[in-house]
Each structure stands twice: as C-alpha cells, then as structure tokens.
C-alpha cells in the first residue's frame, strides 16, 4: 500500500487534444499515488508548467502546435530540470519514437493502448511501484 508519508507523483500533462486532457485528468484523479498539477496545450505551455512546478513526470504529446513533446523535452533537459518525460503518441512509427527517445523521453506510450500502460510508465519513470504491488506494507 501507498505509505501516507510517501508523497504522490507529481505530473504535468501536455496535449493539444482537449479530449485527451479531459480523459487523463479524470483517469489520473482516480489514482491514489498520482497528482496532476497542470495541463498545457502545446510545448510552450508544457515547458512553462514544468519550469514552474518541476514535476516528477511530464507526459508530453509528440505532436502539438508550436512544437511537439520533443521540443519541450530538449528544452527541459537543457535547463537542467529533473522531470522525467513520458511520450504520449498516436503514431506507432519508429522515426517518431526514436525522435522522442533521443530528445530524452524515458518511455513512449500509444494513445490507443489502455490507460494502465501510461500509469505504469509514469510510475516507472518516477521510480515507484504500483499502489497495489506492496500488499505487505
């Protein structure tokens, strides 16, 4: 179980599709160990939120107006942020995946996959286990 002393994983989300932000906002809110602290619609907003809050994890859409997740990820790294980037993508092609990973993403999750995969990627990026895993606690 999640120890009460262990703070929740802080997450910033960026996606230009309102439907994705709405969906993930609701799905994150159901997780006891994840706290969404901000959501943006483009790379610039994602960067601003990450600089301001330095979340544990940034979930970044690979394609957004004014620069996709890679732009934000590279900029975050150059500013020395410790935030780990999880790429979120509608595109299952090697070039996009390689581009995101080269920009510093620690994992690449597809939008047509169940949300459990994204949650797992977030927990792994933050070095945490799933809330249900440590039942002995």
């Amino acid at each position: 179980m999640l120890r009460s002393s262990e703070r929740r994983i802080t997450v910033v989300l960026a996606d230009d599709q309102r439907a994705i932000i709405d969906a993930l906002t609701r799905l994150f809110a159901e997780q006891p160990d994840i706290e969404l602290i901000g959501a943006g619609r483009n790379a610039e907003e994602a960067l601003r939120l990450c600089v301001e809050h330095e979340p544990d994890v940034a979930v970044l859409d690979v394609r957004m107006p004014q620069g996709g997740g890679a732009v934000a990820a590279i900029e975050m790294r150059s500013r020395g942020l410790k935030t780990r980037v999880v790429a979120l993508s509608a595109f299952d092609d090697k070039a996009t995946r390689d581009h995101m990973m080269a920009a510093g993403a620690v994992s690449y999750v597809l939008k047509d996959r169940p949300v459990g995969e994204l949650l797992e990627a977030i927990r792994q990026a933050a070095g945490r286990r799933s809330p249900g895993e440590d039942v002995a606690g």
Binding site: L27, G40, D112, R113, L118
Partner: protein
Amino acid sequence: MQNVAEAEPPEGGMHPVTEMLLDDVERVNPTPERGIIGFMEPSGEASPQKVAGERIRVGIVDDHAMVAEGLGVLLREQRDLEIVGIAATVAEAIELVERRRPHVLLLDYRLPDGDGATAATEILRRWPSTKVVMLSAAGGDELLARSIEAGCSGFLPKDRNGHEVVSAVRAAYRGESLIPTSVLVGLLDRLRRAPQGKAGDLTQREFEVLRLLAKGMSTAGISSLLFLSEHTVRNHVRNILAKLGAHSKLEAVAVAARDGIISLEDRT
C-alpha cells in the same frame, strides 16, 4: 463531478487544470438554453424504448483507448447513465449496437476502418431508434454536414468538454438535437456558399411551423401555440422535411436559413 477537484491546489492558487475545468462548469449549461439550439421530438411513441426511471444505455466508440476510458469514467459518475460497451472501429461499433442496443452511441468521427458518418448511416439504417452523437477531434463544417445528413442527433467538436458530452447524451436520449450555435453558424456559412437547393413551396402553416422549429420549440409547444393537435404538427413537419429535402428538423432549419426562408436571428 470533476475528479480533478480532489487534487490539492498548491499554495497561492488553483492548479491550471482545475481552473480550466471550473471554467467549463461555469460556461456550460446542463440544459439547452441560449447558445444551444434544441429540438424536442414528439413525446410518447416517438421513443418506444424510453421508460421512465431507466438508465440511459451508452456506447462509446473511439480508437484512442485512453479517450474512451476517460469518457467511461465521466459517464459512470452519472447515476442516470450506464456504459454498455466500448468500441474502437466502425466494425466494432456496428457489433456493439447489434449486441448491446445502446440508447445513445458516442461516435468518434475518425476511426481506423472508416469515418463516423458512414458508420452512423449504417447503424441508423439498421437500428433507427439509436441516437448517435458525433464526436470530432478535427472539427470542420464538412464533417458536421455529413454527420447531420447521416441522421446524427448531436455533434460535439474538438473543444468539447465533459459537461457538454454528458448534456449531449441526455439530450439525444430525450430526442433533442444539440449542436452548439458556433458550429451551426459555420454550417450556415457553408450552406450559403453552396448552390441553392430546391426550397419547395411551403404552405403558410408549414412556414409557421418551420419558424417555430427554428426557435427550438417542441411539437407539444407548437401544437398548443397554433391550436393544432400534435399529430397535425407532426404531419406538417413531415411535409416540411419532404419539401426541403431534409432528413431531420435540424437540417430543415439549416436549409431554410440558407435559402432565406427563415432567419435564425429571429430567435426571440
């Protein structure tokens, strides 16, 4: 209820997400009022599957599983709604309707094996009592026009939010057509640019009924205002649709506005 409200705000203010969603709460009305054009279906026999107190059976079709799951969370929070199935393709959508018979189908326009309008046309041909609400990530007047022509009850564009989706599901179930005014204005612009259609020759009475439809009045409301039976009003509506070559009351109003038969500004 927005789950995000449970998130603890940082010192000195709300989270950006919370602000965004609270903004939605203030902007969106749960019932069709100003800004939304609404048409009531004739009460009673027009919706044979409608039973007082039953939950609205909803199917979700979206190839992005995350979006579908998120919609599922939202809709499950509503005590009057029940999710009966989630599909990711046109083929799965048709199977979902066949096997689960939802009252309302939320249908994403862009699907891997076809588009939403084609799916809606097929579904409504085989199960005409189904209400289809089109969800479009890409917006666009063409998509809206095709959705209306396919017989969809509602159309939610790119920037929809949760409250609009819930409102649209309930409205569709009640037999209303909900399309945001901003979307309708775009459609009218498109229709104005299109070649003029055959407006037909409406009788004075049909013209009156059409004008009241454009104001969003129900069949019952029109019948009491014009001292006609609801049956007679429905006959007038049927004639209006035939003369204007429209498939729905909404399309009839759009065509009539395009052809200058009525003015949508006249919605007092």
